[in-house]
Amino acid sequence: MLFLTLFKESFLFAIQALVTNKLRSFLSLLGITIGIFAIISVFTMTDSLEAKLRDSVKSLGDNVIYIQKWPWTFGPDYPWWKYMDRPVPNISELDQVRKFSKKGEAFAFMVTAKGTAKYKSNSVENSDLLCVSHEYDKLRVFEVINGRYFSESESSSGKAICIIGNTIAEGLFAGEDPVGKDIKVRGNRLTVIGVLKKEGESMIGSNIDTQILIPINFARNIVDLRSDRFDPVILVKAYPGVTNDELIDELTGVMRAIRKLKPVADDDFALNQTSMLSGQVNDLFDVVGIAGWIIGGFSILVGGFGIANIMFVSVKERTNLIGIQKSLGAKNYFVLLQFLSEAVMLSVIGGILGLLLIYAGTFVVENLMDMDINLTKSNIILGLTISALIGVVSGFVPAYNGSQLDPVEAIRSN
């Protein structure tokens, strides 16, 4: 009951202080508002981008190892001249890897090329041609929303069919159903049997919407599967419960055996995984997070001094009121809690303003940049917690000084 009375009185005092001294209060709260805005907006941005990155990595397969000629990341003393002579993975090695690997659940071979897709007078330039073996759908997460995936016989016989991304479908068949229609790619006629669900560009550069999936056995007619230009890759997905490191260990042995490398010879292949790319982006997020923290941290600290200042003034203005309260029997803690609650209230109002600004900002960013930005519950809790705590820390000294006043001297002051 006492707490509720205190809360009500403090709230009224805070509102009264805000209304009576609008400009002073606004300027004092501005520091907290800017601080909360800076910190929470950076956290909101990085959280949203990290969620998008996680989705991208998941769609590429976070438990998939890519056997390639070139590694995705390089150290400072990267001997590129040694890598030049490496052989590219070939489709016959796919069968051997499948035969010897015990920890791999699914295996696929893929080469990528660029090409212009044409249908009647429409064309989409620079489409990504993904020439894949049958099990590709078990390694990558995607959804065929219209039509179907290749059948095993279509894949093995190399039928002239394809599955197209959403952007390709919109570009070539505006308003028409693409399934069953023939498109031309690199001079070859392909029948569309499916359309992929729209996903947008991923954080790590791949965009399923601009891709055309073609069976690898048909792709032999279009591209040279042994050419370094088309970046041949063997994809291996681990069984559930098998870590990427365990699979990498096994694949290293398997690939060395397939290529008959001597024990002292270096590996002539690279085993890549998506975490290598997401790790680099995560490092960038960490830097952004630290920058936001430093800028916001100092804003909040300055805002805290503003709140402390306004509370010192508030105590000074109401000194005789404190005297009357104490002479009527109010305890020290009552006066202390009264002013402390007022400081917390003021600070939380500043924090709420900052959060409202971010909430409005998310709509602007979503519309301008076509990004999914969410002010999460954890960030709202963090923002309100910080504001409440800064209120406690900055309001305690003025509130305590007020509570220690002598009633007689306090009443006499004007």
């Binding site: 910190i39 956290f43 990085t46 960490d286 997070g289 630290i290 923290w293 916001g296 941290g297 100092f298 909040i300 600290l301 305890k331 020290n332 803690y333 202390l336 519950k377 954890s378 809790i381 963090l382 917690t385 910080i386 705590l389 800064i390 406690v392 820390v393 305690f396 000294v397 305590y400 509570s403 220690q404």
Partner: protein
């Protein structure tokens, strides 16, 4: 008759160091490192830091609730550090030294709020 309680110089130094240290720690509350641990970690860490700050104000005013609050916050922080696996031996050592000095001068302090 009002009793004046003079603050010893060592407590003055400890209070200045402690208040400044609490402000620095307060900035740590909303660091990305703390936030990564869990959603509620910044709130818990923030409450501990705020309690430490308030305890130094208590010691500054030579009030007994200051050392008591400081020791409580010290142990709370210790448990928190063990929980998040970030134990600082310098912090424990410094905290122990502060506690010893607070206890030495505890009798000279006022037991009212």
């Amino acid at each position: 008759m009002e009793v004046t309680r003079k603050r010893p110089i060592i407590l003055l130094i400890i209070c200045i160091i402690g208040i400044l240290w609490s402000l620095v720690n307060f900035i740590m509350v909303f660091s990305p490192f703390i936030k990564k641990i869990s959603d509620w970690t910044p709130a818990i860490f923030g409450i501990i830091v705020a309690l430490q700050f308030i305890s130094f104000i208590g010691v500054w005013h030579m009030k007994r609730w200051g050392p008591m609050l400081y020791i409580s916050a010290f142990f709370a922080k210790l448990i928190f550090s063990v929980f998040v696996n970030d134990v600082s031996y310098v912090g424990i050592g410094l905290g122990s030294v502060f506690t010893v000095f607070f206890l030495i001068y505890y009798r000279r302090m006022d037991d009212e709020l």
